[in-house]
């Protein structure tokens, strides 16, 4: 790892200030992606601004029918939180399946979405549940927030502070983890909002990161059952193809994971 300067921010405002002043600064959440990347010298930020001790950026509270989750909240906290488990069981189960127990004790929701790894789990939940990303500058719909592989709408000195999830009647997530890395080769989040609208979002498979499956949404809107999506697959031309699986294989995985998610949602 190249040299860096560590800062521990005491407030969200201080974090934004430290980031703005830094030559090439990065926000440090749990560091479960950033630190391995720095160790491999694929990233060399001049400054790290640790936001995990900022009280206003941690924790989970009710927000209308849904929940608001502080950006520095760990996956383990989301997975075990009673509000999340009762209101959005699909989100709790997703968080409980990220990485492994030690990673879940450190990794944060804000860090995961700001990195927008194409195989990360959280982006699918944000898009399918119609979540809003709250930063120190504005509020963004999740579909405006995720702009492409490892790309988000975040500006240089913008910091994710929380994510607001509306309530949902049904939510579930199913993924096929890569047997070695455990990253999703295809992950599908299905949700039926409080207003009855169905959204289906796919992670792990798309060349540009998370995407919605409009055909599945329409099918599930009229018939909420695993059978309704069994004949629907994304266009393989738009999917990732690598040594772990071809685009056609991933297209089929999306169908299978969608069926499993719908079945799990009940």
């Amino acid at each position: 790892m190249y040299e860096t300067t560590y800062h521990r921010a005491g407030s969200a405002a201080e974090a934004a200030d430290l980031l703005a002043k830094a030559d090439d600064g990065k926000i440090l959440g749990g560091g479960q992606t950033l630190l391995p990347t720095m160790k491999q010298r694929l990233a060399a930020p001049s400054d790290l601004v640790d936001v995990t001790q900022i009280a206003e950026m941690k924790g989970i509270c009710a927000d209308g029918e849904g929940v608001a989750i502080g950006a520095a909240t760990t996956h383990a906290e989301v997975a075990s939180n009673h509000l999340v488990k009762s209101k959005l069981p699909g989100l709790a189960s997703l968080a409980g399946g990220i990485g492994d127990p030690a990673v879940r004790h450190m990794g944060t929701i804000g860090g995961s979405i700001a990195n927008n790894d194409p195989a990360a789990d959280y982006p699918s939940a944000l898009v399918a549940l119609g979540a809003t990303v709250v930063t120190n500058k504005r509020e963004l719909s999740s579909e405006d927030f995720f702009t492409g592989m490892f790309e988000t709408a975040l500006e240089e000195d913008e910091v994710v502070q929380s994510v607001k999830f509306p309530g949902a009647q049904k939510s579930a997530y199913a993924k096929y983890p890569n047997p070695a890395s455990r990253y999703a080769m295809a992950g599908v989040f299905v949700a039926q909002g409080s207003d009855g609208a169905v959204k289906v979002a796919v992670t792990g498979a798309g060349q540009d990161g998370v995407f919605r499956m409009n055909d599945m949404e329409a099918a599930l809107g009229s018939n909420w059952s695993a059978d309704a999506v069994s004949g629907i697959a994304p266009n393989a031309d738009d999917l990732l193809s690598d040594l772990h699986g071809s685009a056609a294989y991933r297209a089929n995985l999306v169908t299978v994971m969608a069926k499993r998610a719908v079945a799990a949602a009940g």
Partner: protein
């Protein structure tokens, strides 16, 4: 350089380290506690697992500075040769190791999973799932799983006896 202070295995310690120093570097190189191992150094194998504020984390994937002000427990802090932790005793009893390199992380993860699920509440499937972040290249996991199950059940019995 940054000054890092923590309670390490019950003892207050502080050290001046480079900002980029990993927690495992402080534990092994500065404090000389070599029970915590570095296996892969890429966050996958779990040989470096320690407890920070009571939670299992990979000490190769955390800066020492991030642990400033925390309570850190390493393998050296859970038991001694003459007074083994029930999980350590179970690993010996069930031969839950071959070369032993992954064992420190296995034991720290096992204690963490027993703490979270409650002693006596672990079945084989849960243990195997919980061990996703700890890799052993010798044993095939069979005796590791057996040892954790045995320790969990035995600790439940100890808790009952104490009541």
């Amino acid at each position: 350089m940054t000054k890092v202070s923590m309670v390490l295995n019950g003892k207050s310690v502080s050290a001046d380290v480079e900002d980029r120093t990993l927690l495992v570097g402080l534990i092994r190189d500065v404090r000389g506690l070599t029970g915590t191992h570095v296996g892969c150094d890429t966050s996958q194998c779990g040989a470096c697992v320690v407890h920070v504020n009571g939670k299992a984390v990979k000490s190769c994937t955390m800066l020492a500075a991030q642990a400033d002000g925390s309570e850190v427990v390493t393998l050296e802090g859970v038991g001694s040769a003459n007074n083994l932790h029930p999980v350590q005793a179970a690993f010996r009893e069930h031969h839950g190791l071959q070369c032993g390199f992954c064992t420190p992380g296995m034991i720290m993860s096992a204690i963490d999973m027993i703490n979270r699920h409650g002693a006596g509440n672990l079945d084989e499937k849960t243990i195997r799932h919980e061990l996703e972040g700890n890799i052993c290249r010798c044993t095939g996991y069979q005796n590791i799983v057996k040892a954790i199950k045995s320790a969990s059940d035995q600790m439940a019995g100890m808790a009952q006896a104490a009541e």
